[in-house]
Amino acid sequence: MEVKKNQGTVNLFNTRLAVFTGKGGVGKTSLATAFAVAAARAGKRVLLVEVRSPRRIPPLFGIQPEDDGPLELRPGIDWINLVPRAALQTYGMKVLKLKPVYRAVFEQRAVRRFLRAVPALAEVLILGHLVHLIEKNDYDVTVLDAPSTGPGAQMLDAPRAILERVSRGPMHEGAAWIQAMLTDPAQTRIHLVTVAEELPVTEVLELFHRIRDELKLPLGLAMVNRLLPDLLADCADELLTQAAAHELGRALAQAGELYRSRLRLQETYLDRLRAGIDLPILSFPEVVLPTDHWAVIDALTKALPRQMETEA
């Protein structure tokens, strides 16, 4: 695994666990999916994971899932949606080792409700389920479409919180086992996704510092999604004014004004990102296509290896 800061090679697909996080609505799911598809095209066996999600990924492959998986989306790509209940069954069983006891206790509604409110517990169960799947099935790459910034960081911080609270026993060992994987840069990389807008960039910078300095987990790449092509960098004000004054140029001028403003904002926030983040930055274009689904993933997938070459 080699991600060197600001230089050197980026071998994206050699991490066992690739975590994607960032502000909601920036295209984490699309980029995580594109990453998984690109990894599969590079010959890897991939597990693509959503967390407590309304099952967004399978429809991108034209599949309407009946449950939370696991499910094969394409040869080489399996999918699962991790939810606390299944995680409790799978990972809870592993921790407790006693089925009848588990049943007696956890089938109680009151207990389930109670456990839902215990801080960091659901997150650790989900991560435990995930690590269990990775180890059991021997995937080359597991791509985790993690929750957005705040909850995402909370999830990544959960094993530490449990280790702090539960000083020994199986839960402690389980959390330590998860933590060992999460903190190992040879196994795990956390990729930050954003768009070049104010709040997503602010949040991703906060997240960057939190993950690097507080959680101390290995970061991978920063990915900037939905960039407008830089068409009007040298477009003079005068050209717009003149075009606006002419009937044939009015639509052009109107488009130019809006496009240029958005472009300037984009540049401002890209600068802010570059100045504040110490990771290789990959860019992905705004994909304007008639369909919302596969075509977008395909375009992003194609943009991925291209950029890996330019980074290398």
Binding site: V105, V118, P119, L121, S148, L239, L252, G256
Partner: protein, 387 residues
């Protein structure tokens, strides 16, 4: 537009939606519009990020301390306000401590509850505690009657925890009838004054402790025994809060962008509100790329334009510049068409088409009062002229 009646008549307005759709700006905008309509308004944000302060161009608002924008200040910044506007950021710890202070009459018990280590957890760590604090705060503000309208900007609704089920979630943890039997040894110990959890008795407790840690259970058990006399009061108030949210006093405004994932999330919320007999009065689609006038259809317009413009200004590389403008026009037009289709799809899936409000993507970000004033004119100004 449904938002008109919401702004004129509701006393509580809750904005909900996925993250990154501009909810906070929308909440600020609705607050401003209400103050223009002469209603004394408070905008309360739950979000720990300082977005509300950012939206108003304020450095920051200290948590729990309201900041008042006077009529004069609002007018000076281009908002024709007729009532002051207060903005506040929720401080969950303070709100919950206030509730305890108001509700627990026994001074000694009050102190013991507030100083208990589990109370700290209740305020900060427990899933849904912030939302619960917000609801209590909201209810208090409503009952107090100081404001004509309280706008609440909720955090993004993911993770299965949302504003609406937060009180249930928190009260379920505290609810004795749910888990009393589980923690019976601990509670008995509590009664005789020794707040020690007996791990030798009850395999259930032992198993739970494996998941939560002994310390957590011990803290919880001791807090429960302290709090048990108060639970009924809290439960009754949670019921009262629900009743207010279900009444015509409250309106929910859902916010999304045209992005299909966010639309899916907002539709999920829309149905969920509906199933709880809560009223999604308005659905705002934010950041819709506006439709541009089409390019000229006249044959050879590029050349005509190039010649005309050249004669006016004498630009170098004029035709290349115009070609790039045409490309920008094409991209924006495609984006506008995509958004138009997405909004139409959304319209097909809601009961009341009147509930939908489109807000265009702006050339600039909104982060001061003047920006909000401009947005207000775009959204409400023209609408009033039509009416």
């Amino acid at each position: 537009m449904r938002l008109d009646s919401v702004l004129n008549e509701s006393h509580i307005l809750v904005t909900m939606g996925p993250g990154g759709v501009g909810k906070t700006t929308l909440a600020a905008l609705l607050g401003i519009e209400a103050s223009v309509r002469g209603r004394k308004t408070l905008v309360l944000t739950i979000d720990p990020a300082r977005r509300l302060a950012d939206a108003f161009g304020l450095r920051q608002i200290p948590a729990g301390q309201p900041h008042v924008l006077s009529i004069e200040e609002l007018v000076r910044q281009g908002v024709p306000a007729r009532a002051p506007l207060t903005i506040a950021m929720l401080n969950p710890g303070k709100s919950l401590a206030d509730v305890v202070s108001r509700e627990v009459s026994d001074a000694g018990l009050r102190q013991r509850i507030l100083q208990h280590p589990f109370f700290e957890r209740l305020c900060h760590d427990l899933a849904g505690s912030t939302e619960y604090a917000a609801m209590e705060e909201l209810y208090h503000l409503y009952q107090h009657g100081e404001y004509d309208l309280v706008v609440v900007d909720t955090p993004p609704t993911t993770q299965g925890i949302d504003f609406l089920n937060a009180p249930d979630r928190i009260l379920n943890v505290l609810k004795l009838d749910g888990i009393r039997w589980l923690l019976r040894p601990a509670l008995l110990a509590g009664k005789i004054g020794r707040l020690v959890l007996d791990f030798s008795g009850g395999y259930v407790v032992r198993i739970l402790a494996k998941f939560t840690g002994k310390g957590f259970l011990r803290e919880l058990a001791s807090f429960l025994s302290l709090f048990s006399s108060q639970l009924e009061g809290f439960r009754l108030r949670a019921e009262a809060i629900k009743a207010v949210l279900q009444s015509s006093v409250t309106a929910f405004v859902l916010v999304t962008t045209p992005d299909p994932n966010q639309v899916a999330e907002v539709l999920f919320l829309y149905r969920r509100l509906f199933s709880r007999q809560l009223d999604a009065k308005a659905l705002v689609v934010n950041r819709v790329v506006p439709e541009l006038p089409p390019l000229p259809t006249v044959e050879g317009w590029q050349e005509i334009l190039t010649n005309r413009l050249r004669s006016v200004g004498g630009q170098r590389d004029l035709s290349a510049g115009l070609a790039r403008l045409a490309e920008a026009h094409q991209i924006l037009t495609q984006l506008a068409e995509r958004d138009k289709k997405r909004v139409a799809d959304l319209l097909d899936r809601i009961e009341d088409p009147e509930a939908l409000l489109r807000v265009s993507l702006l050339p600039e970000d909104v982060h001061d009062l003047q920006g909000l004033a401009g947005l207000r004119r775009q959204v409400f100004g023209s609408n009033k002229e039509e009416a």
